[in-house]
């Protein structure tokens, strides 16, 4: 057997079923790969012993004829998911050494379906960032480099460790979370597939909260079929999360390979801002041509409030974050810096425990929620959110699915875009509106830029219609033939 880490999940499951490979074999190969690729810094914590024990159990179950959807498949888990007894940091100093006493619902679902945990993947601190550079545990390097240029690039963020791990074959798939683009933008930067499902599709229980009305978990994989399979395993109603939707989970894998004849694909005219690179526009046109060839009809749609989405997000998300992150007080878990009074202890703990971007967002959030400013900022943003969501509702009266770029540029250099926070925020200009409206969005790689970096396109669906998104994504994947990880 050649290198088993290059297999897709679907291929690996077929070999496991035939008995040609065991979960222990797959897991060992990945652990060896992780060890030799530590320079990428994709993992904060590796859990080799746990991985081998889980793989051994999986092989036993398989022999006994009990196989889950992901039986024996080794995965990376973003270090934002609580894993019982395994350090969960959220990329922050304030949670260093925190070992949860419970397991998140999404990871519980994955283990119930037979998956194996390789370790906890690096991320921007508290998932706040688009480059993975805000992690207390160091930046992650994108496995991709520009042609003929040895400088390191960012993997995107916040699920940067997850994306790098999957792209470099250090895991067959990874969990990500997405608040404003944190699954889709890193997926685009690293040349993999990532889907943020509809808000409410996956339980948020046990995921370290950033902005609760936006946070959603989703899979990051190398193929559309793998994403469909993994999402099916992750999703489902959970009584422990009152915003998790009491809906049955469709068999997303059935959408992969289904016809899109007659499908109406919308192109939002506001998604072509001045200065958008010709390469991104070129990839977008190519994507539309593939869908048309497969029988889809292209329609122009309008999302008139698009230009206000970013500013809306940067009120709503910090406001929610300032409230959610109030729990890090040095009392019940995590870091504590001593002080002479309770207040002084809180203030010193939070000053030392949080990084710069996190503090910035907590302060903005505190300000926009403070007495006298609430209506001018927070209430205003909530109204804009209503308008943005209603733009999408109208667009979906004309179209079944929308196609847009995922990010305005390919991966940028490590250390770039740090001078001005707003420049960094612009990375998420195409993903944030979807998040504000709670809609499913999938990014898939469709080609390379002239300097050899992956370019991603985003498909946006109606609420709880991930199936249409998967159908269209698979058509595009087949046309794009983007399989660069095999050679890497």
């Amino acid at each position: 057997m050649s290198d088993v880490t290059r297999l897709t999940m679907t291929e690996a499951l077929a070999l496991l079923n035939k008995g040609e490979v065991t979960s222990v074999d797959l897991t060992k190969a990945h652990l060896a790969g992780m060890e030799s690729a530590r320079n990428l810094n994709a993992y904060i914590t590796e859990t080799p012993e746990k991985a081998l024990a889980m793989a051994g159990e999986s092989d036993k179950r398989r022999k006994a004829g009990q196989t889950g959807l992901l039986e024996g498949i080794p995965l990376a888990i973003k270090d934002l998911f609580c894993t019982e007894g395994v350090q969960t940091t959220a990329g922050s100093h304030i949670l260093e050494g925190f070992k949860p006493a419970y397991e998140s619902s999404v990871t519980t679902n994955l283990w119930n379906q037979g998956a194996v945990m390789l370790g906890k993947a690096n991320l921007d601190e508290f998932a706040m960032g688009s480059s993975n550079m805000t992690s207390y545990y160091g930046a992650v390097k994108n496995p991709w480099k520009r042609q003929g240029d040895d400088r390191d690039l960012v993997p995107g963020g916040s699920s940067g460790g997850s994306a790098a791990a999957v792209a470099a074959c250090l895991a067959m798939g990874a969990t990500g979370t997405d608040t404003g683009g944190s699954i889709r933008q890193p997926a685009a930067f690293c040349g993999i597939v990532g889907i943020k499902p509809t808000y409410g599709r996956c339980s948020r229980f046990g995921i370290v909260a950033f902005a609760s009305s936006l946070d959603q978990a989703g899979p990051m994989t190398r193929t559309v079929a793998d994403a469909a399979l993994m999402l099916k395993a992750m999703a489902g109603h959970d009584p422990k999360d009152s915003t998790s939707a009491p809906q049955s989970v469709p068999d997303f894998t059935k959408s992969v390979g289904a016809s899109i004849k007659g499908l109406k694909v919308g192109v939002p005219k506001e998604y072509k801002p001045d200065g958008l690179s010709a390469e991104i526009i070129g990839a977008w046109d190519k994507g539309l041509a593939w869908l048309k060839e497969a029988g889809a009809e292209i329609v122009e749609v309008s999302l008139p409030h698009t230009k206000y989405a970013l500013a809306t997000y940067y009120i709503v998300a910090p406001a929610e974050a300032s409230s959610n992150l109030a729990r890090y007080d040095g009392v019940r878990f995590g870091l504590r810096v001593p002080g002479n009074s309770l207040d002084e202890m809180y203030m010193k703990t939070r000053a030392e425990g949080f990084g710069r971007e996190v503090k910035r967002r907590i302060l903005i959030g505190t300000y926009v929620l403070s007495a006298g400013y609430y209506d001018a900022y927070y209430a205003k943003a909530q109204k804009l959110r209503t308008l943005i969501a209603s733009d999408f509702r109208q667009a979906f009266e004309r179209a079944d699915v929308l196609l847009t770029p995922t990010a305005p540029t390919p991966a940028f250099g490590l250390g770039e875009n740090l001078d001005d926070p707003i420049t960094m925020y612009l990375n998420d200009v195409f993903t944030i509106p979807t998040s504000l409206a709670g809609l499913p969005g999938l990014s898939l790689p469709v080609g390379l830029s002239s300097d050899g970096l992956p370019l991603g396109l985003q498909l946006i669906g109606r609420p709880f219609d991930e199936e249409t998104v998967f159908k269209a994504a698979h058509v595009m994947e087949t046309a794009a033939q983007f399989k660069r990880w095999e050679a890497r």
Partner: protein
């Protein structure tokens, strides 16, 4: 709205984050920059628009029976506490 040093100091206290004096000025500038940028929203007429308070649409919040469904393991609750004693979290003295 531009923030001055005193306002930043006040927000930082509300958020219980210690900010050193020399950090106040650059922070005030940074936060003001972000606030100026988000203030573009004021150009949109939102009269009569209802604020979006739930993403889950018209989904009613689920109700459950009002009874204890979890708990009974203080040692698990306390296991990550930086300082604990006799089954309690320990904090600096609050009441004289």
């Amino acid at each position: 709205m531009s923030l001055d040093k005193a306002t930043v100091q006040k927000i930082a206290y509300l958020a219980r984050i210690e900010v050193k004096d020399e950090e106040l000025e650059p922070l005030a500038k940074e936060l003001s920059g972000i606030l100026h940028w988000v203030e573009q929203l004021s150009e949109v007429n939102t009269e009569g628009v209802a604020p979006m308070t739930s993403v889950a649409g018209d989904l009613a919040l689920p109700m459950r029976e009002d009874k204890v469904s979890d708990g009974g393991y203080p040692e698990k609750v306390l296991q990550n506490g930086p300082e604990t004693t006799n089954g309690f979290f320990l904090v600096p003295k609050v009441v004289e």
